[in-house]
Assembly symmetry: C2
DNA sequence: GATTCACTATACAGATCGGTATACTTTTGG
DNA sequence: CCAAAAGTATACCGATCTGTATAGTGAATC
């Protein structure tokens, strides 16, 4: 990727996230990136392609960010689940004050045949798989059920964070998950 | 509200929800409502005003729908909490397959000075207050904490439903809340 | 050292955007 | 019964939208 292309993607990412995809025009993206429209179209071909690369890049960055937190976490399964919430907490503090970019993009991209659609649903499916896998290391016979509960709490925390419903919802979700996992572990031991 | 105005609001609501606010033009709204653009502007004055009334109407309908379910519910506090999830379940089945319209609108309306902004945040604040109040009837000393947890689970269920992450997430959230309330009640009894 | 590549600058095309103007018709309430 | 309100039909406005065309510059590569 050329320097100009990188600047375009950075500007587009910031503008799309802050103002919404349909509300941002290519002229503004080019201007904010300090690039002419011709360069923008030489590199990306269309606005739709910029949207696709924006979401794909965001997805890739999040997965790498999360992997770092998981690698650094205590190997005990409950600690690894909590590490996901810690990662989201750090991610949200850095560059995510308006909630999940995939959820926000989904509000504007309804057509399943849109090339960005599988990126959005793919990340959610990937997160559910991750939670289910982590849950399997805690309570193998209820991995699916626990994974879905973790998914609900995580998504709810991201939305509540974006809408600023109450202070630090991600920390609240983490706390609830901590109690939940203790209960689940006890139950598993008892059985 | 005149018949034409009602048709405009109905068409706008459907189009805004399904395609997004910025993606829908006033010409399309007028055509779908079977109304001329002059009538549309005579009744509403601006597209922004249609957006405001769309969200305000949606908010009002949801509160009335929820009130009906709460009135019909068993008076025991835990049953009333579950009735909220039952209401969301029925609401989503009827007219909400793309998630919460307030969350989706928030993705496109970022400016807090936009006249629709307080409607969005107002509904979320109202829901949190409701959950907190209901939680207070179960565990008075932890009403705030439990209310926020219920809010997270509810928001997460709506998002997961809209993104179709797994089947029937609202029922899953309801199930988890049921277990959670049983535990909380037991704890309260023990103390 | 000519060619390719990445880029700037500017102008333009056709469509669509939100919103208005003019002229006319239908419905309805005091 | 008639005036006001609510509506249709159509044309238009300036701005903005995505995307393209033309012409030229600087640097790197083969």
């Amino acid at each position: 990727m050329t320097p100009a292309a990188r600047r375009v993607l950075e500007a587009a990412a910031r503008l799309f996230y802050e103002r919404g995809i349909h509300a941002v025009g290519v002229d503004l993206i080019a201007a904010e990136a300090g690039v002419t429209k011709k360069t923008l179209y030489d590199r990306f071909g269309s606005k739709e392609q910029i949207v696709v690369e924006y979401l794909a890049d965001r997805d890739e960055r999040w997965r790498a960010f999360l992997a770092q937190h998981l690698d650094a976490a205590h190997p005990a399964p409950p600690a690894r689940v909590l590490a996901v919430f810690d990662a989201s907490h750090a991610w949200a503090a850095e560059n995510n004050s308006k909630g999940c970019s995939m959820v926000n993009a989904h509000a504007e991209i309804s057509d399943p045949s849109h090339p960005a659609y599988p990126i959005i649903t793919g990340q959610k499916k990937w997160m559910l798989d991750l939670f289910t896998h982590l849950a399997g290391d805690i309570s193998p016979d209820r991995a699916g059920h626990l994974g879905r509960t973790l998914m609900l709490l995580h998504e709810g925390a991201l939305v509540a964070h974006g809408l600023n419903v109450f202070p630090d919802p991600i920390a609240h979700a983490r706390e609830h998950v901590q109690g939940l996992l203790a209960t689940t572990r006890d139950t598993a031991v008892k059985q």
